[in-house]
Symmetry: C2
Subunit: 472 residues, 2 copies
């Protein structure tokens, strides 16, 4: 036997051995992924650290930088092919001293209520502001009242989330314009401040912050805006129906500082066959400042890290390049998501699939896909593989804010869709904390994401089929 033949034989032999270790069916691989995540997963330990050792991670804060360092170090310890930081300038808004508010039914008769400044809002003046309230449910109502009724007053937006919608995200979508644009709209009619009912389906005492924008309103016309807890919104509304002229007082101390540099954290396993076809999985590393950001989006961060770890742990060498991207500044700027897409475009990188987890660490139900019909049908062919794990939701729709800027024709974007019922009980509030995340639910989410990434890596994207003309 010549040496060449021997070498070829050796290569074939080794290939056979290697192939044997990969000769599992997809169903078997998925079963192993779930078992690994549920029995030896790291996601919960990472979340414990992010939530309890670091805490709330608002863009530009010291904690956000700690989270960058921590996750980079953890990813480096796992021995991936590359780990790097991608610089990005982010806004820095600080809350300052805790807000204070009350309503007054008669001089000296005050009842304090729970508020928090909305992210991006200006402060009140140092003495706070006090005025009558005008309760409205919509911008149309605001317009009807007009400057005559609104000038010099505080507008109280009190349209609740619609409880009969099954998807709480849909209910959120129906209300959030009050929070995001309420101040800008009310300022048009001379309002001096804005109070917004918290985006929460539950009646409780937590005010929920979140991003707001003044649009192109000149700095001099910007008015302070704050969220009020649902219990206090209900109370205020009842009081107003009894006594429309009650006075409302609030004081907040927030400030917008200069942009600062921060980073997206990225790690990669380079593809063995098609390294230029890139798959990313991610969540956002920043969070609001009131809680510790466990559901929003600590969960998505650690689940995304777990996807890459499981590939490594299980010895699955991906054909395509798989990256975890921990985005900075989803909450109040989306600068990280935009930067990642910008750099990818500059480098001419080809992304075939992007998956985001940013809907809480609850029991996973499936995915929402921003994809062509042809690619969506490809994904649907995998749906039966997920049935043993009670993953049933495969629908076309949105994906995730951070991966949105990557959108291109010949790729698939997807968002993990966990059970949404409890999400807005915690979202952007001081009770978004570690003890409200269940270990198994978090791990099931990580396994579900890993499974989908595994299938996209193994099969790649089908070429887009031309739909034949219907025959006449």
């Amino acid at each position: 036997m010549s040496k060449t033949f021997f070498n070829i034989g050796l290569v074939i032999g080794i290939s056979l051995i290697l192939n044997c270790s990969y000769a599992q069916t997809d169903a078997e691989v998925l079963r192993n992924i779930y078992t690994q995540s549920l029995t030896n997963g790291k996601s919960y330990t990472w979340l414990d650290h992010l939530s309890n050792q670091i805490g709330g991670r608002l863009s530009g804060s010291l904690n956000a930088e700690r989270a960058v360092k921590y996750t980079k170090a953890e990813l480096e310890a796992l021995g991936f092919d590359k780990v790097w930081l991608q610089p990005v300038m982010v806004p820095k808004w600080i809350r300052g001293a805790k807000e204070f508010a009350y309503f007054e039914t008669a001089p000296g008769k005050t009842t304090s209520v729970n508020i928090c400044a909305l992210g991006g809002s200006v402060a009140t003046n140092a003495a706070g502001i006090k005025s009558q309230l005008v309760e409205v449910k919509s911008f149309e109502e605001l317009e009807e009242l007009g400057r005559e009724k609104i000038d010099g007053k505080i507008v109280f937006y009190n349209r609740p989330m619609q409880p009969d919608l099954i998807s709480t995200f849909e209910a959120y979508g129906g209300c959030v314009n009050q929070r995001y644009s309420g101040a800008k709209e009310a300022a048009k009619y001379g309002a001096i401040g804005v109070i917004v009912r918290s985006m929460n389906l539950r009646d409780d005492d937590y005010p929920h912050t979140g991003a707001m924008s003044y649009g192109d309103l000149p700095v001099s016309e910007r008015i302070p805006s704050a969220a009020i807890s649902t219990n206090d919104a209900n109370l205020l509304s009842s009081m107003l129906s009894l006594q429309p002229n009650i006075q409302f007082y609030f004081k907040q101390n927030c400030r917008q500082l200069k942009d600062v540099e921060s980073h997206n954290v990225i790690a990669e396993i380079t593809g063995s066959e098609f390294p230029k076809e890139i798959i990313i999985v991610g969540g956002h590393l920043d969070s609001w400042d009131l809680g510790d950001g466990s559901h929003d989006d600590g969960a998505g961060v650690v689940q995304s890290m777990e996807v890459l770890r499981l590939f490594k742990e299980m010895g699955i060498r991906p054909k395509r390049t798989i990256r975890v991207v921990l985005f900075m500044n989803e909450e109040n700027g989306l600068r990280g998501g935009r930067k990642y897409a910008e750099v990818a475009k500059q480098k001419g990188e080809r992304h075939i699939f992007a998956l985001e987890s940013d809907a809480g660490g609850f029991t996973p139900r499936g995915f929402s896909f921003d994809a062509s019909e042809s690619h969506f049908n490809q994904v649907l062919s995998w749906k039966p593989l997920f049935k043993p794990y009670l993953i049933h939701y495969f629908e076309r729709g949105g994906s995730g804010a951070d991966i949105g800027p990557l959108k291109a024709d010949n790729m698939v974007l997807a968002g993990l869709r966990p059970d949404s019922q409890r999400y807005f009980d915690h979202h952007h509030a001081s009770n978004d904390t570690f003890e409200h995340v269940n270990k198994r639910e978090l791990e099931l989410g990580a396994a579900t994401m890993t499974s989908l990434v595994y299938l996209f890596d193994k099969y790649g994207l089908n070429p887009i089929e031309k739909i034949p003309e219907p025959k006449k």
Copy 2:
């Protein structure tokens, strides 16, 4: 126009009007059911009372009787056709003073651990018992060790729930024989007591009680058995691996008293067309004593009451007789379920469908059906109606303990299947409390049950098809 023709015309007219109000598609009726439950539901208010005003409701206790009175009064206030109490004798086991336990690594060096007596266990003697521990994972291991190694010692059953199973009920099923029969088995080899790892997938400090049985073991040979929290089971196991001869002490003060009379609580809307075809929906009114029984099974009780209330509220006059049955004594005797079936048999009642909710008040995922293939196929034809509510789980399997005794050929039994991931964090422990039930999740469950009952009422049971012989 003759008076007769006028009258006929009037009847037709009224019928048309009445029919108009019923001329909704099934999809529309289901949508209304969910909207009603989510916007004007009563289930959460009832649960608040059961949990926070009454509390734990162990069979034979004063609280169990309070729960009977309260639910009967609430059902009466709703104006159903009939409300009654069905007498049933139930066991009365009482915990007595709180249990106490520690392990001792050297004389006087003790570490206390969290235990609770298992339901039905005997007490220790007044001084408590103290001995070496023998840790086992199975009855087979116990048998291998035999009397020589076990005599005079305390057996410590420490087989954990299997974390890689997706259904936590399946994981429970794989462990619960340690709790139910552990004492009986260990007593055979001369053990003087039994400590069982709590049936909980989470590592925490709560001991979880639950039913145990001595089978036909003579009274003189019965040994005390208690559950230990998962954290303490882990600690104990580590300590034993370092120092196998550590001493374990425990004292418990429970007692089995004479049976007492209690009641199933039943309410009925009598069918308008087929009153002799009976549909029941229920949960169990008793609970363990440690928590307030919110998930197990306060949730099932109030959801079942809500089914009947929604029929009434929405003006749906059922064709068949629909009953809510709140069973007494599921936890430690099943006397209520047996009594209901016994009386139904005596009266020659024909039940076509029975639905139980006894798996917690979490987000509903679907149902498990104990049904013929033909009837299961009938149910499957309704599955698309549930898709908007993310109800996807329709599988053949078990139903519920209380309705089990009703089982007959020509009927369908079903169990509501909520998300199971968190259930055993709370099951039978002091943290099965109201704040762990989410209002929306509870209401979604009630709506899901109501929808299925509505469909069974409207369409009845298909005649069982004879499956044709396969052609050769």
